[in-house]
């Protein structure tokens, strides 16, 4: 199994699953919101599109939903490339 990478570095279209969401600082509300939106261990994610300027923001497919995340937000999520068990 490959070590986890950040969601912000995941190439477009590559399937992956969420490892965990890291707090950028203590009591990080953005990290908490990401978890509430479904970025939890084992959840499949995929980068669907990237913004026209500097590839920011990125569009993430998670569950049945698409979320636009800025790179700084996506960098809080670590993902692994294996398929969920």
């Amino acid at each position: 199994m490959k070590p986890p990478v950040r969601l912000s570095e995941l190439p477009k279209g590559a399937p992956a699953v969420v490892d965990r969401v890291h707090d950028a600082h203590a009591a990080d509300p953005i990290a908490q919101r990401l978890r509430d939106l479904g970025f939890v261990d084992g959840e499949p994610v995929r980068v669907v599109a990237v913004g026209p300027m500097g590839g920011d923001p990125v569009l993430i497919q998670i569950g049945y939903t698409r979320f636009a995340l800025r790179r700084a937000e996506a960098a809080r999520v670590s993902v692994r490339s294996e398929v969920a068990a």
Partner: protein, 612 residues
């Protein structure tokens, strides 16, 4: 509470079709206000159930989680929990979930259930779910959730029938309240997965149509092209539908004023009626067509799901000047008129981003500046070709638009540097499925926006217009006066006083005086200049000639730049007051724009004087 009234709170994730359901239940019988002290909209409606019981429904702001991140989410949480001051706890909560997006929405349903209040789950958009081949075992879902579940189609007539029947019946018993801590929150996701595995069969995670449309709409090149075309169409419509109606309303009230005036004796009362009252009404109501046309497009784009796509494409650009992708549409609307632009910032949830957008919006070159630009450019800028193809007059006009945009970017950048709160504010924006906008929902939205404008602003703007009329009319000219009447008025005195302030930027007292009525509405500066230069009644060409003879080129350029940045008009300031609920923000807007206009005009005047 009377025994027959049932208080219902409507909650759900953003994009669950909650507002469409609310419209379906209550029709036009809605009251829109603000929660006290904040600028979050409070929408309430009522309807009478078949049993004769009156149902009072509160449409709470869409929320992903009770771990609230913004003022509107806090309100939803507090009202549901019965903790919001001045708001009675709901007797029943209707939780709305999109049947095509249950992975996300069921988690919130479980959060609502843990409050320990009676809850009914409305499984909305069942029509779309069926089309997409999604199969939901409703009885099993109901059993596992321990909540009554009804299917709804908010956008179809009669689509809420089952919900009304259920709500009209016995109030379901509440599940026991459960504590809210980190461990149990994490556990909610596991519960959702179990429930989904047992009750929902989903052939595809996304709608094929969404995938196909987004391939174009979000494409780095075609996406931006599509956005440009959409915006072009919106602006064409504003100018070709809204503008003529605005002009017609202004002319109509002018005509009515003149005719009513014939019934009155000449004198101050007649002048008050024609110039103050009817002129003012013409100005205020004249805003309405442009506002409605703009909002027709904004609401349609919002309902269709395209707006978040536009925000996605432009977020990086807007972020670099301290804004967010969501600021784009309000700012763009401000090119027609800052008033709908500022009202449109309600779609920005984050208070800091919203305020930044509101403060910048008046710098966009609105349509009311055009008559002033046209007059001054026509009078002072020669028609000359530059590089063989470009017209110098056109280049100046373009530069003024550009000056507004660059000025706004600079202000945004400076605000980002100087504000105390440097914390990271997230984008975290859901891109919902594309949907065909429904006429009823757009119509109700338009009716509300128009109502807000008329109810909350007409009084203020009309009052200020009459005040401006008073200043320009009294005291009246003495017998045998040779100068125009406005010279003897308070405005005349103020203008003469202001010239000392404005002399360094090249304004004589006549221009300073014209700036006073321009504060009511920019385009009146032309009429005011015409009055003081004794060419009233003549065509604008005549005024242009008069100006060219009396004002230097440097002064004219300085005045153009002044109009690009100056704190005008007062209607805009009134909207800022209404939308931010704060005089402080009005003071900030006024002073920064005044300072910016003064500095820019000073530089232009002094440089131009040296060169000419």
């Amino acid at each position: 509470m009377s025994a027959s009234t049932l208080r219902i709170a409507l909650v759900g994730n953003p994009n669950c079709g909650k507002t469409a359901l609310f419209n379906q239940l209550t029709g036009g019988r809605q009251k829109v206000a603000n929660y006290a002290g904040v600028t979050v909209e409070r929408k309430e409606g009522r309807f009478t159930a078949p049993s004769g019981r009156v149902l009072q429904i509160l449409d709470l702001p869409g929320t992903y989680s009770f771990e609230a991140n913004s003022p509107d989410e806090q309100i939803t949480r507090d009202v549901c929990a019965g903790n919001y001051p001045g708001e009675a706890a709901p007797d029943l909560i209707i939780c709305v979930a999109d049947a095509t997006n249950l992975r996300l929405h069921l988690r919130f349903v479980l959060e609502v259930k843990r409050l320990g209040r009676p809850v009914v789950l409305a499984l909305n958009m069942m029509d779309t779910a069926r089309q997409r081949g999604i199969v939901i075992d409703v009885p099993e879902l109901q059993r596992r959730l321990g909540l009554p579940v009804v299917e709804t189609i908010a956008v179809k007539r009669g689509g809420a029938k089952a919900l009304i029947e259920r709500v009209d019946g016995e109030v379901p018993t509440a599940a026991p309240a459960q504590p809210d801590d980190a461990a149990s929150r994490a556990d909610l996701h596991a519960q959702v997965r179990d429930i989904l595995a047992a009750t929902v069969a989903m052939p595809r995670a996304t709608a094929e149509l969404d995938d196909a449309l987004d391939r174009w709409a979000l494409h780095p090149v075609f996406g931006l092209l599509i956005l440009a075309v959409v915006m072009f169409v919106v602006f064409q419509a504003v100018y070709s539908i809204g503008k003529p109606m605005t002009d017609a309303i202004g002319d109509g009230f002018g005509w009515m004023g003149v005719h009513v005036a014939t019934l009155l004796p000449a004198g101050p009362l007649q002048s008050l009626v024609t110039d103050g009252l009817f002129g003012g009404l013409g100005t205020v109501l004249g805003f309405l067509p442009e506002i409605l046309v703009l909002f027709l497009f904004i609401l349609t784009l919002e309902e269709s799901g395209y707006l978040p796509r536009a925000a996605f494409l432009l977020d990086r650009l807007m972020l670099s000047v301290g804004l967010t992708g969501r600021s784009f549409i309000p700012l763009l609307s401000s090119f027609a008129c800052a008033i709908p632009g500022i009202m449109g910032t309600r779609s920005i949830q984050d208070p800091r981003d919203r305020l930044a957008t509101i403060l910048i919006a008046p710098l966009m070159t609105c349509s009311a500046r055009l008559p002033v630009y046209a007059l001054l450019i026509g009078a002072f800028i020669p028609i000359r070709h530059v590089f063989g193809v470009f017209n110098l007059q056109g280049i100046v006009l373009f530069s003024l638009y550009l000056a507004g945009i660059l000025g706004a970017m600079a202000v945004g950048w400076v605000m980002k540097r100087i504000r105390g709160d440097k914390s990271e504010h997230a984008l975290l924006m859901e891109l919902p499925s594309y949907r065909m906008p429904k006429l009823r929902d757009v119509a109700i939205g338009l009716y509300e926006r128009g109502g807000i404008f008329l109810k909350r602003l007409t009084g203020v703007i009309l009052g200020l217009t009459v005040l401006m009329w008073f200043l320009s009319t009294f005291p009246s000219a003495p017998e045998g006066a040779t100068l125009p009447a406005i010279d003897y008025s308070f405005a005349g005195y103020i203008g003469r006083g202001l010239q000392y302030i404005f002399a360094p930027i090249g304004f004589n007292w006549q221009i300073s005086l014209a700036l006073i009525p321009a504060f009511a509405a920019r385009e009146t500066a032309v009429a005011a200049l015409a009055t003081v230069y004794l060419v009233g009644g003549e065509a604008a060409g005549g005024l242009g000639h008069a100006l060219a003879g009396q004002i230097s080129l440097a002064s004219a350029l300085s005045l153009l730049v002044w109009f690009a940045y100056a704190p005008q008009c007062m209607s805009t300031l009134a909207v800022i007051r209404r939308e931010t609920n704060s005089w402080r923000n009005v003071a900030i807007s006024f002073s920064y724009m005044f300072g910016m206009a003064y500095a820019a005009s000073f530089i232009v005047y002094q440089v131009a004087r040296m060169l000419t």
